[in-house]
């Protein structure tokens, strides 16, 4: 049974690798440093703009690579993970406490793009 469980765990990783060919996210498929992106999150709740510290706390984003001069953070995996985190956090919040979010990001040095919620 132990061997079968081990083989099952290995097969899940292969399946996740195949799945990653069709989606933007890169969970559990061994894609470290898939891309690098600099991004800034702007969010407001009920018309009040959140400060950078509040945004980091709201989404639980580590700030090891935070640059206060450019207000940008550094994602070293896939930007889809940041979008997923913002979306999942807001979906769980009560409807009257949800934030309007805009993420400005640049992947691998390309021109900046925008992603927004809702």
């Amino acid at each position: 049974l132990r061997t079968k469980l081990g083989i099952a765990l290995l097969l899940v990783q292969v399946a996740m690798f195949v799945r990653a060919r069709f989606v933007e996210s890169r969970y559990f498929c061994w894609a470290p440093f898939h891309s690098e992106a600099r991004y800034t999150i702007d969010a407001s709740v009920l018309g009040r703009a959140l400060r950078d510290e509040e945004i980091a706390e709201r989404y639980g984003i580590p700030r090891y690579y935070w640059d206060p001069k450019t207000r940008s953070n550094w994602e070293l995996n896939a930007m889809a993970h940041v979008f997923d985190l913002v979306r999942a956090t807001e979906d769980l919040a009560p409807s009257d406490a949800r934030a309007k979010v805009e993420v400005t990001y640049s992947v691998n040095g390309r021109p900046a793009e925008r992603w927004s919620y809702p």
Binding site: L9, L10, R26, C29, W30, E36, Y64, N77, A88
Partner: protein, 348 residues
């Protein structure tokens, strides 16, 4: 008692190489502080799990279980059960907190889980398959990505790295100047656009795929040397062990190791060096005697001592971490010649 608990690898219901791998990993997990880290914001991967994340005791539960399992593995208590529990806990915490997701932590979770699932009296084929899979899929992902093939990723990453400085490390020097990264960026500017970035990208892809292929083909020595060279290169360039990636990568090489059951050493047992060897030799691998036997080299004594790996894990994972020390490991791996003595198996 503590000496035997820390350094003994035989007598557990797992192969000695796996016990040592799990212990080295657990020591690094503990000393780097990963064992104490609990995500403060729990946003689950699946909405279904949201009620669990609202529990006020969840954070305490994760903390206590994480530290307890880690200490059990370090001190050789119920290694299989503790390792399985710790691996599952890391997976569960990732499912409960999106922010906790990271490839290096999941690599550890896989090694803890799969290590615990190994058979007692056979080579650790599951862990070996896991290690091969990680390098193969990481290499393939890069190979299938146009930004990696063209060098665009590496170019953009290296410019940012030179500007920002070292990535996270246990030395808590994130953002301090990384001279290799600055040198790399300066060199890249002197060469045609994307030339160095493309060469670095393809070297990375070739290394990852070669490590997987060599380990799968049983060319363990060269595979392990390339793996150490790969991790050393990453550590020196970024100034960071990449979370647990450096430690997990090197510890997993132990699953391919073959420790001899007995190593004869021509040395006076009561001399200072003899007593030191006997102190660290909790498995009683080394036979010390004076006489005309062919003495084992000091390098072999160090490399075949489980204690050396435990001590190295502490030296590499603490706040005194310096990326340049990784070069010592690479030099040792290149210089080393394996013993032909039979492998150590099972209980004493």
């Amino acid at each position: 008692v503590i000496r035997r608990a820390l350094f003994r690898t035989i007598g557990a219901d797992l192969p000695p190489e796996v016990v040592l791998m799990l212990r080295v990993l657990a020591v690094a997990w503990l000393v780097t502080g990963h064992a104490f880290f609990v995500p403060l914001r729990m946003v689950p991967m699946f909405e279904l799990l949201a009620p669990i994340t609202r529990s006020p005791v969840l954070g305490y539960f994760i903390f206590v279980l994480d530290v307890a399992c880690t200490l059990h593995i370090v001190f050789g208590r119920s290694v299989r059960a503790s390792s399985l529990a710790l691996g599952v806990l890391i997976f569960a915490t990732t499912l409960l907190s999106r922010g906790y997701f990271s490839n290096n932590r999941l690599f550890c979770a896989c090694l803890f889980t799969i290590g615990a699932l190994e058979g007692e009296d056979r080579p650790p084929i599951l862990v070996r398959a896991q290690v091969i899979l990680v390098y193969a899929l990481a290499g393939l992902d890069k190979l299938l990505d146009s930004d990696w093939r063209s060098g665009i990723f590496f170019d953009s990453f290296s410019v940012r790295l030179a500007e920002f400085g070292r990535l996270w490390s246990p030395a808590l020097d994130t953002g301090s100047v990384s001279w290799p990264a600055v040198f790399y960026a300066d060199l890249a500017r002197e060469l045609p656009p994307l030339f160095l970035a493309r060469a670095s990208s393809w070297l990375t892809i070739a290394l990852e795929l070669s490590i997987a292929a060599l380990l799968a083909a049983g060319r363990v020595r060269i595979g392990v040397v390339l793996a150490i060279a790969f991790h050393t290169g990453v550590v020196v360039l970024t100034g960071s062990p990449m979370g647990m990636f450096f430690y997990a990568g090197l510890a997993s090489c132990l699953a391919f190791a073959r420790f001899p059951s007995r190593l004869e050493i021509a040395m006076e047992p009561e001399s200072l060096a003899g007593r030191a060897i006997r102190f660290f030799d909790a498995d009683d691998r080394f036979e010390l005697s004076t006489g005309s036997r062919l003495p084992a080299s000091w390098l072999a004594i160090v490399i075949y001592s489980p204690a050396a790996y435990v001590v190295a894990a502490v030296l590499f994972a603490g706040p005194w971490f310096t990326p340049w020390a990784a070069i010592v490991l690479l030099a040792l791996a290149i210089m080393f010649r394996p013993s032909r003595a039979p492998a150590l198996r099972g209980a004493p």
